[in-house]
């Protein structure tokens, strides 16, 4: 069966785009082959630094013959309709088929040679290719990720004749830029293509390139009693930077080993794309690196290794310069600088932010078992490294450098750790701090961000969350839950809101409202800062937390309507909320729970319907009335007992016990609905029964808002 081989040969494709391009090519080719009615045995794509390749095996030489049936007019339709149909199909009346009084045209299409379909297919793929960024070049109009130089297109061993924007399809490609023979060469089919590429020092398959890198890099390290520091992200990248990747072990000047290892590793990785090397004996970094070159140098890589080593020294010298300068500068100077750095136009400078975080960290400290003075100190140091030279160079090292510098300037470990780790947790996979001081600063940091952006109405919308507020909220939730912090959130949020409004020049009125304030910008123009009620901000934020908590619990397999049911109680103690959700979840899974929920819905529907007619009757439920059904009396006693039991259970936060107390209602509720008519003709009876249902709803409502629960 014929084979299709297509290679799109270009100038260097960004490493990060290559594997996505291979997937896009696979998808687009499969879609178009399918649309053309072509089947095949196998379709594979490859991407590398200079080429995208597609190979389809087992294609037919031609598309199958096809018969299409077109429905025409009814047999007794007017002449004109028939004529129109004949014109459209190009047939005569006697060629039509009649079935059930309707005429049909059967049109048979001869299969087309596959080779003839390929040009359009490739043209469409190239012109519609979804590169993240594409460009034009020269005087042409074609777009590709970088200039497209050649198209190799072979079908069944023959060149497919076409061109795209002047680039003619051929049976020719090129090998490695430097290691190849230097001449374009012809290929016959995929096997020949792959074989000749190999000979020309091109590894087509990224898996082969990665394997070659890992094996050679590990071997080079092993030969010197060293170990490679694995880095998958880096491996992916360097495998896209070389067609013939050749790892070479280079020497790093050992004087740089006294720099923090994070700095050395990041210098290597970010700037130079080198792998770091470990000394297996100490587990620390060894004074070496592995560079993945794109050549097998004729001198065995000596000049190349020496060159890379010099560049690394220059980089690390830069890093050392920052480190030394930073150690001469110190926290006071950095903090001074922060007053000149705007955090956000409406939220003041970083220095103002630090003030707020410090004040809040003080407030939070006692709640998490940290010393308020220490918490304030740590918070006041936490953002200083943003003004340091090293973090200016490597923003990824924020916090980490602050930790090093705090220690270097003699701060106790607990404070240095808090400075280092206060950005945590940075994502769902990141660990959550547990040291009390760190927790206090970390919470203060995130809460300031959240309150601030909510106060100026910069809430995340849809997929847009430019200030990473969802991550901040999730961070707060995880800090609270994983440290079992028992504190109501709302007062903390309002406290932070008060700091914010106060520091930013808003005057708080006693009722918690802030004034609209006109402030002057630097250029003297008035700038209106809209202020929002702190109360509203706090409530908005609580809803946002509820939302995030729902996402978190849903990821853990919990129902989100249960979170709604619990949040509706207005509780803002996250730990309690989660416990309540868990207890509720367990309860609803029981027979009692499910039935009681149904009973609740029934009661609440009745009450809602009655509420529409007028105010519900109020007052005590009465028992011992003449002719009162025993089910009514029983439910009245059960509701009263449940109220007491629920109260007791909630007092001690024993939610399982609260659920058990509710479970005791199930049988009386079921029996009541079974035997008693609520809407009795006797007004006194109806009133008493409505009061009773109201009481059941109220008791249950203390545990959760069952009305929010679906099912």
């Amino acid at each position: 069966m014929p084979q299709l081989l297509l290679e799109l040969f270009s100038e260097e494709i960004p490493a990060r785009m290559q594997q996505g391009a291979a997937r896009d090519l696979e998808r687009m080719a499969a879609d178009r082959l399918k649309a053309a009615g072509l089947t095949y045995d196998a379709l594979t794509t490859w991407a590398g630094p200079r080429r995208l390749t597609l190979m389809v095996d087992g294609l037919p030489a031609a598309t199958p013959d096809r018969e299409e049936e077109l429905k025409g007019p009814r047999a007794n339709a007017p002449e004109q309709a028939l004529e129109g149909f004949l014109r459209k199909t190009g047939l005569t009346r006697d060629q039509l088929v009649e079935r059930d009084g309707v005429l049909f045209a059967v049109i048979s299409q001869k299969g087309q040679p596959t080779a003839g379909l390929i040009p359009d297919m490739v043209d469409q793929i190239v012109r519609a290719f979804p590169w993240p960024k594409s460009m034009r070049w020269g005087s042409g109009t074609l777009r590709w990720v970088r200039p497209l130089k050649r198209i190799l297109a072979l079908f069944d061993g023959q060149v497919v004749q076409f061109d795209i924007d002047g680039i003619k399809a051929e049976d020719v490609t090129e090998g490695h830029r430097f290691l190849g023979a230097g001449q374009p060469f012809t290929v016959r089919d995929f096997a020949d293509y792959r074989h000749k590429l190999g000979r020309e020092h091109v590894l087509l398959d990224v898996a082969d390139r990665k394997l070659r890198i890992l094996e050679a890099a590990r071997a080079a390290c092993h030969d010197h009693g060293l170990a490679l520091v694995d880095d998958d992200g880096l491996l992916d990248e360097v495998a896209g930077l070389a067609e013939w990747p050749t790892p070479i072990l280079g020497d790093m000047d050992p004087q740089f080993l006294d720099l923090p290892p994070e700095v050395v590793r990041l210098s290597m990785k970010v700037h130079q794309k080198y792998f770091a090397v470990r000394d297996p004996a100490t587990q620390g970094l060894a004074p070496h690196f592995v560079v993945v070159a794109n050549v097998e140098a004729s001198d065995g890589g000596a000049a190349l290794a020496a060159g890379n080593s010099r560049v690394l020294s220059a980089r690390l010298n830069d890093a050392r310069f920052f480190w030394d300068e930073d150690l001469k500068t110190g926290f006071d100077a950095w903090n001074d600088k922060l007053s000149g750095v705007t955090f956000h136009a409406k939220l003041g400078t970083l220095a103002e932010r630090v003030d707020r975080i410090a004040a809040l960290a003080r407030e939070i400290a006692p709640l998490v078992g940290a010393d308020p003075d220490q918490a304030e100190t740590a918070a006041r140091l936490a953002k200083a490294d943003l003004a340091s030279g090293m973090v200016g160079e490597f923003p990824e090292l924020q916090g980490v450098m602050g930790g090093y510098y705090a220690r270097a300037f003699g701060q106790p470990d607990a404070i240095a750790d808090a400075v280092r780790d206060h950005y945590k947790p940075q994502g769902p996979a990141d660990s959550v701090p547990t040291a009390p001081l760190t927790v206090a600063v970390s919470l203060a940091d995130k809460l300031d961000t959240l309150v601030g952006f909510f106060a100026i109405d910069e809430k995340p919308t849809g997929s847009k969350d430019p200030f990473a507020l969802r991550r901040a909220a999730l961070g707060v939730i995880r800090l609270v839950l994983e440290n079992n912090l028992r504190a109501p959130l709302k007062p903390v949020l309002k406290q932070e809101g008060a700091f914010l409004y106060d520091r930013l020049g808003f005057k708080l009125r006693e009722d918690g409202f802030a004034n609209e304030t006109d402030l002057l910008r630097d250029d003297g123009q008035p700038q209106r800062r809209s202020s929002r009620r702190i109360e509203t901000v706090a409530l908005d934020l609580l809803a946002f937390f509820a939302d995030r908590l729902k996402v978190l619990l849903r990821d853990q397999g919990k129902r989100h309507d249960l979170v709604d049911a619990v949040f509706a109680l207005g509780d803002d103690d996250l730990v309690r909320i989660v416990r309540r959700v868990e207890a509720l979840d367990a309860f609803l899974a029981t027979d009692d729970g499910a039935n009681l929920l149904a009973g609740y819905k029934r009661a609440s529907n009745i009450l809602r319907a009655e509420e529409k007619k007028g105010p519900l009757p109020e007052g005590m439920v009465r028992t011992g009335l003449p002719d009162q059904p025993e089910q009514e009396t029983a439910l009245a006693f059960a509701a009263a007992a449940a109220a007491t039991a629920v109260d007791q259970a909630l007092e001690t936060e024993d939610f399982a016990a609260a659920m058990r107390a509710l479970a005791a209602l199930r049988a009386p509720v079921d029996a009541f609905f079974d035997k008693v008519l609520v809407n009795s003709d006797v007004p006194e009876e109806r009133d008493n029964r409505l009061k009773l249902l109201g009481q059941v709803r109220a008791v249950m409502g203390r545990v959760a808002d069952f009305g929010q629960i679906s099912g």
């Binding site: 100038e11 260097e12 960004p14 490493a15 990060r16 960024k133 594409s134 460009m135 034009r136 070049w137 020269g138 005087s139 990720v145 970088r146 200039p147 130089k149 830029r177 430097f178 290691l179 930077l241 070389a242 130079q272 794309k273 080198y274 560079v291 070159a293 794109n294 050549v295 140098a297 004729s298 001198d299 000049a303 190349l304 060159g307 890379n308 010099r310 560049v311 690394l312 020294s313 220059a314 010298n317 830069d318 310069f321 000149g340 750095v341 705007t342 136009a345 630097d522």
Partner: protein, 295 residues
């Protein structure tokens, strides 16, 4: 390197010869302070419109904030870029470029030459392009860009732009770790003797010397001049784009000086850059109109 490494000036002369042979006009540096060779009107303006253009030149680049008083072996507030612009870019631009490396003594079979993604962008002149940083043994020696837009306008014809960092390249070729140790002439005059004192004095002026109020005033003056020139007409009825663009360059340098003096608050930064970009865009629009009308 097989032969004696090139002195700094011989590196420049070799590149001049090489690109001159590729029929580039060898221009001289622009006589206004700029932060990058791209800003020379021979690149940024000539990249606009349909007219072909080939030029190469050295451009002193001033980055006031990068001054280190002559104490850092790699950072300078004044250094040289070698700039090549070919419009439209020839098909074999990468080959031509590698030829220029060979001409200055870099053998791609001994050294690791890599084209690493780098999408170049200069927000102050609203210019962008796709291309690479070219690495030689892990060191970025050239910015290789296919211009896609200038002054916020998509280009008619794509120019290939090469920007060589001359000092870095020379350090690499000569195998020195400190820029001041570079041999400027083959007889042994050093970069130190030529430029160290300049770095010391200029660094002090950049960081502590310039009068900030004066800079701000002059910035506003330059800004006003741009619009005035664009509204004026030359002898053939054309807008005075070229003098207007000169004022943009001056404003841009004044901004860089204010920045080095620490006089630009973070919040103001975007607004300054935005103003310069708008001026540059106004020049670009006027220039393109003239070019398209002439073509």
């Amino acid at each position: 390197m097989t032969t004696e490494p090139l002195a700094f000036q011989d590196l420049i002369l070799t590149l001049h010869k090489y690109w001159g042979d590729q029929s580039c006009a060898i221009l001289q540096p622009y006589d206004i302070e700029v932060g990058a060779g791209t800003l020379h009107p021979a690149t940024v303006l000539r990249a606009l419109g349909p007219r072909p253009w080939k030029a190469a030149y050295v451009q002193p680049s001033r980055r006031p904030g990068d001054g280190r008083y002559g104490e850092n072996p790699n950072r300078l507030q004044h250094y040289y870029q070698y700039q090549v612009i070919l419009k439209p870019n020839p098909d074999n631009l990468q080959q031509l470029y590698l030829g220029s490396l060979a001409a200055i003594g870099i053998d791609p079979k001994l050294h690791d030459i890599r084209f690493v993604e780098d999408d170049w962008e200069n927000p102050t002149v609203g210019a962008w392009g796709l291309g690479w940083e070219v690495w030689c043994d892990g060191m970025e020696v050239t910015q290789f860009t296919y211009f896609q837009g200038v002054g916020g306008i998509e280009v008619d014809v794509v120019s290939g732009e090469l920007t060589y960092g001359l000092e870095r390249l020379a350090m690499y070729v000569q195998g020195v770790d400190n820029v001041y140790d570079l041999k400027f002439t083959k007889e042994g005059l050093t970069y130190r003797e030529v430029f160290l004192e300049n770095e010391r004095q200029q660094s002090e002026a950049n960081f502590h010397g310039y009068d900030v109020d004066g800079l701000k005033r002059r910035f506003e003056d330059m800004v006003a001049e741009v619009s005035r020139f664009l509204a004026m007409k030359g002898p053939q009825g054309q807008a005075l784009v070229l003098p207007a663009y000169d004022q943009v360059l001056k404003a841009s340098h004044l901004f860089n000086l204010m920045d080095a003096r620490g006089a630009i608050a973070v919040a103001e930064r975007q607004s300054y850059i935005g103003r310069i970009r708008d001026l540059c865009k106004a020049c670009a629009v006027a220039y393109v109109e003239q070019e398209r009308a002439d073509a």
